[in-house]
């Protein structure tokens, strides 16, 4: 079992009347609400927290890409990852990911990821995403070409890393006479590829066929993860191999304090702040971003999404967050880990308005009291497993 510490870098200073005044924390939320002076302190402390995860012995740290929103302040996760290559020594740095259709040319991703891999001495995990629905409003990229562009760009990047350049590339959306990125990644044949998903069969089958790793995006009911990982294992079997646990990541917020009561008291208000403020508008889905069938499935999945939840018992029942004393958290993780069969947990210890101090306290307890006991859990993967996801 591997533990990756995930930071969204939220904007915690939304006004008290946010819910009445604004219909979304995304795309058109006025950026006059952003304050760069406070923003400086935030980046410093958020980066400190991520670096602390390395000191505490987390297997990796994660950053991701979102635009024009208060939910996550990393329009360029590569900038933050660049800083982290210099602040960390051991952990993997997972950028999950770069939204490929938003990069023109997508060779930029091949270049920047290669830089990060070389700078970190081969610690990069290269996450490739289509990008959330709101990004297509923010960048005005045609959503009806998203999937096609994603696949083309991914193939281009992989080829750029594995085929000696210069070579010519020609596909429906991209044409290059000289593909020849300098530098190239340190990891061979290339860094592990992680693809986050929200459960569409299309993505699951694609990731399974290509032997990449599938990262289940958090904030869904545990039933969704049960179904998704079962589908993933089936898709791998169909592709002719047994799924490696480390091809499956379960995204879930975890919060640990000395007692169950204290954990809930410290964490709950921030989870609700996050749910009611930062998640507002995240479901904005432009037409053509998915097939009509998937769009219908997304609508049906809404009731399994954190945004619709109102009570703590719903949070506990659906394992939307794992919260409690070290012993409680250990038991729950062991239970779900066994059930899901996922070899990777991606966890945000910081959520919404939770302070840097509380986030770090929770990380310490998690790293010292919980991780050593659950790590051995279903560890059936061999040391070579991380290469299994490399094509």
């Amino acid at each position: 079992m591997k533990f990756y510490f995930f930071h969204l870098m939220p904007w915690p200073y939304l006004p008290d009347d946010f819910q009445q005044r604004y219909d979304s924390a995304w795309v058109w939320l006025p950026n006059t609400l952003y304050d760069p002076v406070k923003g400086h302190d935030l980046y410093r402390e958020y980066i400190n927290t991520l670096a602390y995860a390395d000191e505490l012995g987390f297997d990796g740290i994660c950053v991701n890409e979102h635009h024009q929103n208060a939910y996550g302040l990393m329009p360029s996760p590569n900038v933050v990852a660049g800083a982290l290559t210099q602040r960390t020594k051991h952990c993997k740095i997972a950028v999950i990911g770069n939204a490929l259709p938003l990069y023109n040319p997508p060779l930029r991703v091949a270049e920047e990821f290669a830089m990060l891999d070389v700078m970190s001495n081969g610690r990069l995990i290269a996450g490739m995403v289509i990008g959330g629905g709101p990004e297509y409003f923010s960048y005005q990229i045609n959503p009806t070409h998203a999937r096609e562009k994603f696949r083309e760009a991914l193939d281009l990047i992989l080829k750029a890393w594995t085929t000696p350049g210069p070579f010519m590339w020609n596909s429906k959306h991209y044409h290059f006479r000289y593909v020849n990125p300098w530098p190239l990644p340190l990891q061979k044949p290339h860094p592990p590829i992680w693809i986050p998903g929200v459960g569409s069969l299309e993505t699951i089958e694609f990731v399974a066929q290509r032997r990449f790793a599938y990262m289940g995006i958090p904030y869904f009911h545990i039933d969704v993860f049960r179904r998704v990982f079962a589908m993933f294992r089936e898709a791998c079997a169909k592709a002719g191999y047994e799924a490696n646990p480390e091809q499956m990541g379960w995204g879930v917020p975890i919060y640990v304090a000395d007692t169950d009561k204290q954990a809930r008291e410290e964490f709950e208000p921030h989870l609700w702040h996050f749910t009611r403020n930062h998640l507002k508008g995240i479901g904005l889905t432009p037409p053509g971003y998915t097939s009509a069938k998937s769009a219908a499935a997304i609508v049906k999945n809404q009731k399994h999404f954190l945004y619709t939840k109102k009570t703590w018992s719903e949070i506990e029942e659906g394992a939307f967050a794992i919260v409690g004393s070290p012993e409680t958290v250990r038991q729950k993780l062991a239970h779900y880990q066994k059930e899901l069969g996922a070899g990777i947990i991606l966890t945000g210890c910081q959520t919404g308005t939770l302070s840097h101090e509380l986030a770090r306290k929770s990380m310490e307890l998690l790293a010292r009291e919980v991780l050593p006991k659950v790590r051995g859990g279903i560890e059936k993967s061999s040391p070579a497993s991380s290469h299994a996801m490399v094509r």
Binding site: P143, P286, A296
Partner: protein, 279 residues
């Protein structure tokens, strides 16, 4: 109650019209294209809006069919028409229709459309002016008016009330609730999503064609512009913009009408176009 009766009446008219149109599937350069048609006389080609009102033989088609051979194709990607993978932009739509006229052996037609259909008609007319006997354009995007950007329909598309407000002068009226139903069933939602997907492909990055104004001088035929005076999606200023660039074009504002005159002011709409195409 009155609203209910009006809705009922429209439903009855749709039923009564139904027999007037026939459905056909034609092969347009390999793209399977659904077309409804009815009536005899000079050919009148109607290019539908993003709503996909070509999916049914509606009363206004039936009215025209008394004097014209009315042809109502369904755009590639909409409904059961294929060929979406060959459509990337509005020009591709124009090329689809010149090939459709070829396939039907039609040399010259009265051509027009509402909203995106009107834009396609304009793009057609600047490329093949000799094939357009008369051109009419209603409530169409395609141009850019600096201080009056078209509204962002994609932002509010899931909100039925806001959608009715955007599309209708009278969002509480009977026709608003006929066109934008409350509690649509799953099939209706899927069809709407499919239509919006085609629309998004055409307009997402840029809801206009920067080259169109300069090209509009190539339009040679009589041109009628029809706009709802309360079109909130594509304001009447866009009608003015088309008028400015098409020599001799006439702009007709329909009073107390929103973006969809064929539904909100049907009789005026039918008469204006019928008369224009006949003369």
């Amino acid at each position: 109650m009155l609203k209910f009766l009006k809705k009922l009446k429209y439903g009855a008219r749709v039923l009564l019209s139904k027999g007037g149109g026939q459905e056909e599937i034609i092969d347009v350069a390999g793209r399977s294209t659904v077309m409804r048609h009815g009536g005899e006389g000079p050919p009148l080609v109607y290019l539908h809006s993003g709503l996909g009102e070509s999916f049914m033989w509606l009363p206004f088609f039936q009215s025209w069919s008394k004097k014209f051979r009315v042809l109502v194709p369904t755009h590639p990607g909409f409904g059961n028409s294929g060929g979406f993978d060959q459509i990337d932009n509005i020009e591709d739509m124009a090329f689809h229709y010149v090939e459709m006229l070829d396939a039907l052996g039609l040399e010259e037609v009265c051509l027009g459309g509402v909203s995106v259909g009107g834009w396609i008609a304009a793009e057609f007319a600047v490329r093949w002016p000799e094939r357009v006997k008369k051109l009419w354009i209603a409530d169409a995007p395609g141009m850019w008016v600096e201080d009056q950007p078209p509204a962002d329909m994609f932002r509010i598309m899931h909100d039925r009330d806001k959608l009715r407000e955007l599309l209708f002068y009278d969002p509480k009226g009977a026709m608003a609730s006929v066109v934008v139903k409350d509690d649509p069933d799953e099939q209706t939602m899927l069809t709407a999503y499919q239509s919006l997907t085609v629309l998004a492909r055409l307009v997402w990055e840029r809801p206009y064609d920067p080259k169109l104004p300069a090209r509009l001088r190539r339009v040679q035929c009589p041109t009628l512009l029809i706009w709802g005076d309360h079109d909130k999606l594509i304001p009447p200023a866009y009608g003015e913009a088309y008028k400015k660039h098409i020599a001799g074009a006439e702009l007709n504002l329909i009073k107390n009408c929103g973006h969809l005159p064929m539904f909100e002011k049907e009789s005026e709409f039918v008469e204006l176009i019928g008369k224009f195409c006949q003369d």
